[in-house]
Symmetry: D2
Subunit: 237 residues, 4 copies
């Protein structure tokens, strides 16, 4: 049963980043919010709060992948990043709007939602990683989101309570389409790392700095679940 | 016959920018290179040189539209910009590679081409307009390329020597698909301007600065044709 | 006694932004942490935690002012922003290191401190405001820090318990040198606004978006004090 | 006498970049414009044109060093970059205004000057190097300006016609103050490279890409002298 959990999607670099902050990674991928999705025990108000914030997240997350296009140095980097930007904005966000609509939340409510601290912190940290560093720095900051959701989806598909109320969420990330995206991103990161820090990644003088970006982003992802559990739909000013 | 020439694609803002630098606009849209495309008299070496540089241009031009996604403030701004990024990278550039291949130039040659001064100047100026300013500043710098090619394509379709060797180029930009893109961009700019400087655009304190961005970009587009005519395939270092 | 509290340092734009989110502004400038500085009741561990995080803050805050230089459109914008960058990096941070050293915390500890969520959120939000918007958007996001500290310093100087253990902190921001910096920044913002949205600022279509940036940044500043009160020197991973 | 010419100011990385494009480097540092400064034969109109464009250059060049502050990863990178930004904006540009005033050109004329193609191309290329890459990519693009002027100043001081009309220009860059700045920048680059690509720089997978940035920037610097010789004070639109 542990296979999907320990998969690195084919990227040794991602695997090494994850191993470097194993404790934080576990806190993120086995968060109480995640376990609540797995067994269906998550309060529906928390789920709704998460869905609304996730819409705002997707808007800014798309912007970070657009910055990755700006920072691409090869055709493959440009192509995959551009596909992801377009896929997020013109496909995923639309699907998300549909999911929310079925939960009774319309798009204008989504767009008007006040972005919570933890939500804001993550995407802006990724954005600044791109402004401060290069494409690989961005990948280190984006990885916890991409692979973490893939890993959670795969694990919950295998171990979750079947047909619980959050099955649709689980299926989205366990889906072969999402898992394939993870593999493509893994390949992109392997090549991006080889092109910048060589194939013995951990020997690069940048290694500890890249690990720090990954672990900070992992910590911020955990914060996103914390926020979900708070279930406040309206921040007090 | 003058209809396509004087069209503003539905954007009064673009129309006013163009009128503000009418002389530079004419120098760009009626450049000797353009006239050579119109009547088929353009030296083939110049055309080839242009095609090769245009590949490099498209790579960086795509990056500027990606920065426009980063700078988007509304869903419509994000959606259209993301579509353009993806369309350029995963469609137009591929078509361009095909055109070049039929001319005997393979993609590795394209990718290895030394970017000429005038080519580099334009895309980096647009990029810096985005870094220095807001979404509307970028639009002012991007407009001469978008609408100028639309205007040239439409005019050459009407007035050009039929079936000359550059008919494919003319058809690309005269095509309803490209003309529709111009109309979408025009609408985007109208809204982007209304959201930032109001509907009486020319009364905004930013107006002269926006006109300057547009005219500088127009001057740089003219330079691109100058470069085409030089027909050097290899810069002397 | 209320004069310094209601001062807008000569900027009607700042005054209007503050009035627009009066409740959030009060929550920030009259936070329990601030009141603890005022009467000397703040736990010393909280103060130390704040000092350490403030070092990390100053590093990234300096970077945001550097981005303001990149985004400057006038000589005055460049000159003041450049002075602030240099003053922060080559003067303020050095002073801060001295303050921390007297509290027994050396610079390597400061540099190694893990940046807390609320700390990270504020500076990266400001940075992204610059990437997404123009110079004025940045000013809206930077204002709560600049003027809030000035207002707090002035108020605590007048109303605080004399010679309490936090007198040095109070004096730093009540100092004429800091108050003069606030006046210079106020003047800069007035001109920056006039140059971009005109003198009837509140009538600009950008007004509500600028107010939102100011109020979000104000909310994040309040979060910074919340963080101070938590007084965790080491985040659990 | 050749010592200053072959000096690498203590940076092996700079030395290797220069060696990699020796031909382009010579074309830049021994350009006809430079030789005209050396023996006093440069047309005064060309010098004036250069001075005016150099003012516009300094404004944007300062902005690029500000972006270097944004991209700094260490305290030393921040400190030196911030000093350079402030030195350029609040000192060098003021001196430059004085030089121009003595030549009869007032600051408003300087500020209103139309930026020429070659001028614009260089600074925007540097800026985009920062947006696309990391701090080291920026250093590769900034190096030809920093060290080239140092090398030219040192050579002209030794070999130039004494007390020719351009002695002041020569003295500025031959001056120990400027030569010391070159040494500081060299040290910064050595450390920045060691931190990112290791001490065997030429073995890094990034090496060819960094060499390309340096050689492109060198080519653009040569273009700046070409522009100087054109001596057009007003671009025809």
């Amino acid at each position: 049963m542990s296979a999907p959990i320990s998969s690195n999607y084919g990227s040794q670099v991602f695997g090494a980043w994850r191993a470097d902050c194993a404790h934080a990674w576990h806190a993120y991928t086995h968060h109480a919010f995640v376990e609540g999705l797995r067994d269906g025990s998550l309060a529906h108000s928390a789920y709704l709060h998460y869905l609304i914030q996730d819409y705002v997240f997707l808007m800014h997350y798309s912007r970070t992948w657009a910055l990755a296009v700006v920072k691409s140095q090869t055709r493959d980097e440009m192509r995959l990043s551009a596909s992801i930007v377009n896929g997020l904005i013109n496909h995923e966000i639309q699907l998300h709007i549909g999911v929310c609509a079925r939960e009774g939340v319309c798009e204008d409510q989504l767009f008007a939602a006040e972005e919570e601290l933890e939500n804001l912190a993550y995407t802006r940290y990724v954005m600044d990683s791109g402004l401060a560093g290069d494409f690989l720095d961005m990948m280190a900051a984006l990885s916890p989101c991409v692979f973490g959701y893939g890993e959670i989806g795969a694990r919950l598909k295998l171990t979750g309570v079947k047909n619980n109320r959050y099955q649709e969420w689980i299926d989205t990330y366990a889906d072969p389409e999402y898992q394939t995206l993870c593999e493509q991103a893994a390949k992109l990161i392997e090549t991006a790392a080889a092109d910048r820090i060589g194939t013995d990644s951990t020997l690069s003088p940048r290694w500890s700095s890249l690990c720090k970006r990954f672990s900070t982003a992992t910590r911020l992802e955990r914060g996103f679940w914390d926020m979900g559990l708070r279930a406040r739909c309206n921040d007090a000013e």
